[in-house]
């Protein structure tokens, strides 16, 4: 019988051996995948034992995201709290029990949970575990100015739209507000998504979760003329003094394209120069320039400003979109000039769609003498011990236009604010440069309006883009006035009464 017993013993030992192999599979091989699964209740709970890093505004005092410690059955759990509620929601995002995250909470999760530190020795982490040390994440210090952010939110007043302000020479994002906003704290409770879904605004769908500043796509209208002018001036084919005749329309494909949909407006400016054309936003002039340059030259200029690529920013890639021509919902890169209407493109129509962030980058590039800086919203990352883990440096995305072109554009945009369409953006004692945009939505009398600009024009410290949905007026009447208080807040000049 001993032979059989030996064989049975081998079988028994093999059965247990199979269990060791299977355990190894689950704990070593399959573990990383399982840890990442969204329905992993252990990880869901475990994340609350980590003291996530705080997120602070640029003043380092305003806590944008913090923690509240609570003890439940022998464990200390840290629950995420957002004291500023909706003010920074679209940048910071949220982190909830279902491990669904958005904004920096998602993209910077490794820093916030100190997962970046796993390069430490096995001994260190083992000692930590024996001591039961709480994992403490790194703090993020943002570039956002809490005061200006608040001003921007207040002037938007719940209307659908966005305001983005950048520091031209560094790319620091000073203001990034998308409206309507939501309170990220609701995601800590049940039915957070449903509650956010019930937020209403003057646009449909209100979609409060949506970051309009970085992924809202809008018809730029005349703000795009800055890009067209860049193409025109950069090649040296035009100067500020170049002369044009404006009959009130331009002819494309054998048809007249009028300056305004509304034919009751003045029929034409007559003989004007390039500066006038920008100051009064004369479509026919830009239309003819577009035809002369060809659409590809204009689009190439746009590309140098960063169009046709997602602008770099620390938020998750899914929360940013590229600006450019869109065809049936997808980014469209024309190969053949005949694919694009050059005239309409030149004054910002065609199938152009832009994000507020991209338009702020256009204004910032002009302000910075032609260089496009990578926008960034994280100033630095600080370890719990106070050590700076990472510090953002200004990084150039490339040169969009010549220095002289930037100077010419500044002259044009100063004229726009001084006595053109954007007088509402004037600030006493500060020279502001800007450009307005008014794009028809297809519904008569309802426009998407915008303003881009920078100040002070001589030595720019702030570049800004304002975009509003569903407006009855023009960009000069609706968007430009909102830029002023935000610029004032950022420039430190006294903030005058704010228009709601």
């Amino acid at each position: 019988m001993n032979k059989q017993i030996t064989r049975l013993a081998v079988t028994g030992v093999a059965l247990i051996g199979a269990l060791i192999v299977a355990t190894t599979y689950w704990q070593a091989w399959a573990a990383p995948d399982l840890q990442d699964r969204q329905d992993n209740a252990i990880q869901r709970v475990a994340q609350f034992t980590v003291k996530r890093g705080r997120i602070l505004a640029s003043d380092r005092r305003t806590v944008v995201a913090g923690n509240e410690a609570r003890r439940v059955s022998g464990k200390t759990f840290y629950f995420r709290r957002y004291p500023q509620r909706g003010l920074f929601a679209h940048v910071v995002g949220y982190s909830n029990e279902a491990r669904s995250r958005a904004g920096l909470e998602q993209s910077q999760n490794d820093y916030l949970t100190a997962a970046n530190e796993n390069l430490g020795t096995v001994l260190d982490s083992t000692l930590d575990r024996i001591r039961g040390t709480t994992v403490e994440g790194n703090d993020l210090v943002l570039t956002l100015d809490a005061r200006a952010q608040r001003v921007a939110r207040d002037v938007l007043g719940g209307r659908c739209g966005a305001i983005v302000a950048l520091e031209p020479r560094t790319g620091r994002v000073l203001v990034l507000v998308s409206s309507p906003s939501y309170d990220p704290n609701v995601f800590q409770g049940k039915n957070g998504l449903a509650r956010v879904g019930r937020i209403r605004a003057d646009c449909k769908p209100a979609n409060a979760l949506y970051n309009r500043a970085t992924s809202g796509l809008y018809a730029p209208g005349s703000t795009f003329k800055v890009v067209t002018a860049s193409a025109a001036l950069d090649g040296g084919r035009y100067t500020l003094e170049s002369k044009f005749d404006d009959p009130g329309f331009c002819v494309e494909y054998g048809r007249r394209v009028y300056n305004y949909f509304d034919q009751t407006l003045p029929s034409g400016y007559g003989r004007v120069d390039f500066l006038d054309a920008m100051q009064f936003s004369i479509n026919s002039v830009f239309c003819n320039i577009g035809k002369r340059l060809g659409p590809l030259a204009v689009l190439d200029s746009a590309r140098r400003f960063g169009f046709f690529a997602k602008p770099p920013l620390e938020t998750p890639e899914a929360e940013r979109r590229a600006s450019g021509l869109y065809d049936r919902g997808r980014l469209f890169r024309p190969k053949d000039p005949s694919d694009v209407d050059p005239g309409r493109l030149a004054f910002g129509q065609e199938r152009l769609l832009v994000t507020p962030l991209q338009m702020a980058m256009v204004a910032a590039a002009v302000a910075a003498g032609g260089t496009v800086l990578e926008p960034h919203v994280i100033d630095r990352i600080v370890s719990p011990g106070g050590r700076t883990v990472l510090e953002s440096e200004p990084k150039a995305l490339g040169r969009a236009i010549e220095r002289s072109t930037a100077a010419d554009l500044t002259t044009m945009m100063k004229a726009v604010v001084a006595g053109g369409t954007a007088t509402a953006a004037q600030i006493p004692g500060v020279v502001v440069a800007g450009k307005t945009g008014t794009a028809e939505t297809g519904v008569r009398g309802v426009n998407t309006t915008s303003f881009i600009g920078f100040a002070p024009a001589g030595a720019p410290r702030v570049a800004i883009a304002v975009i509003l949905e569903n407006q009855r007026g023009t960009g000069g009447k609706t968007a430009a006035p909102l830029a002023r208080p935000v610029l004032q807040a950022l420039l430190g000049t006294t903030s005058n009464s704010v228009e709601g």
Partner: protein, 421 residues
């Protein structure tokens, strides 16, 4: 060193380990539990010293490693149960005490010659059948978690299948020793009892809705049949019969179908039927290489709710694996492996057919049961609700496993006395 002194030395090591286990749970969960917890380790150690003393008196030549390994396993189980729920640990501790008394009684009663059990083999066979049929009886039978494995009389709850397993092994050891030559010839008419047992296993399967128990009983039977006859063909034929029968049962028992489909793809119903096994895999996976440490695993939600249902019985391994990691879980499995090796060694050293069959059957039953429950948790086979020997929470299970240990030790003692170990 004599066998018993070696056993004592091993028990001392186990005592220290158990003490460390309780101490680490205490350190990790100070705010939740009292210093009284440390007395568990002392009580536990005392209990095993008593068991050791009985062994010294009754079975001086028995294998010195089996009792310490059983002590280690119960110690790990008690620590894990204690960590999950101190009140359950108190009840489990009481059951361990009762089981040690039972163990001592078995050794004392059978110390002269356990082989007289052979003459009562049919009584044991009958006993096994009666025990197996108990849960089916109306009034006392109880269905827990979809499987009809329990008997309740008043406040007293019992899983008779655990003891039935041992009785079946004693019966088979006696029966097969007697009939092994005849069976080995392979005449069809001698296979009546084989078919009877196959039918019994199928009946158990249908009646309890539990694939695991049926597989366990039938597996033990096939293993012992192989040892007795040396005919691999029988095992293959038996397995074919079992698989065929199981398939037939599978086609018309929805619960068995559910178990199989959850096994194949638990994520098909991740919030429902698959939830338990999925969260169990997450628990094991989150242990990683070194585990979280005793007392530091995550088993409750932020609201204090239990994350994995049936954690301390069916899924105790998932809890242990999370807290001790791959290193600890592998060590635990190596203890099981060593126990199996020592058990089979006992069977090899035994000098008569009954003893060999008994030790081999008991050991193989132990190995197979471990495989069936852990294989289910680790998704090697469909999950079934049987207990992990010595570790799971549950009185009947601990009691039966101590009886199993007693049986192997008795055989070992006899062999050792002859060999002068």
């Amino acid at each position: 060193m004599s066998a018993r002194n070696r056993e004592l030395a091993n028990l001392l090591a186990v005592g220290v380990l158990t003490g460390l286990g309780f101490a680490s749970v205490y350190i990790a969960r100070q705010s939740e539990i009292s210093t009284g917890s440390l007395s568990y380790a002392g009580f536990f150690f005392g209990l095993y010293l008593v068991a050791h003393a009985v062994c010294r008196f009754t079975i001086p030549y028995a294998d010195p490693y089996l009792l310490p390994m059983a002590a280690l396993l119960t110690g790990i189980g008690l620590t894990a149960i204690y960590r999950l729920d101190p009140e359950d640990a108190f009840r489990q501790g009481r059951w361990i005490a009762i089981s040690v008394v039972f163990f001592a009684a078995i050794l004392l009663l059978l110390r002269r010659d356990y082989r007289r059990l052979e003459s009562y083999k049919y009584l044991f066979g009958l006993g096994a059948l009666v025990l197996l049929a108990l849960p089916a009886l109306p009034g006392i039978g109880e269905t827990v978690n979809g499987a009809r494995l329990w008997v309740r009389v008043g406040a007293f709850q019992f899983q008779p299948g655990e003891l039935a397993k041992l009785m079946l092994i004693v019966f088979l050891a006696g029966y097969l020793r007697e009939k092994r030559e005849v069976l080995a010839q392979g005449r069809l008419k001698d296979f009546g009892p084989l078919l009877l047992i196959w039918g019994g296993a199928m009946l158990v399967l249908v009646q309890t809705n539990d694939l695991g128990s049926a597989l366990l009983y039938f597996g033990i039977f096939l293993g012992m049949l192989y040892v007795a006859t040396g005919r691999l063909a029988f095992v293959i034929a038996g397995l074919a019969l079992f698989l065929g029968g199981s398939y037939a049962v599978y086609t018309f028992v929805p619960r068995v179908q559910d178990r199989v489909s959850i096994w194949l793809d638990p994520w098909k119903d991740a919030q429902g039927a698959g939830y338990q096994i999925i969260q169990s895999s997450y628990s094991i996976a989150s242990g990683g290489f070194g585990g979280t440490g005793f007392g530091r695993g995550t088993f409750t939600g932020t609201g204090g709710d239990q994350v994995i249902p049936f954690l301390n019985t069916d899924f105790i391994y998932s809890a242990i694996a999370q807290e001790v990691g791959l290193v600890g879980a592998s060590a635990l499995l190596l203890v099981y492996m060593l126990f199996v090796v020592r058990g089979f060694r006992t069977a090899l050293l035994a000098d008569d057919g009954f003893s060999k069959l008994l030790a081999a059957g008991l050991t193989f039953g132990f190995a197979l049961q471990t495989f069936i429950i852990l294989g289910g948790i680790l998704r090697l086979i469909p999950l079934t609700g049987i207990t992990l020997p010595f570790v799971s929470y549950g009185g009947s299970s601990v009691l039966a496993n101590f009886a199993l240990l007693g049986g192997i030790l008795l055989v070992s003692n006899r062999a050792g006395a002859r060999g002068g170990a």
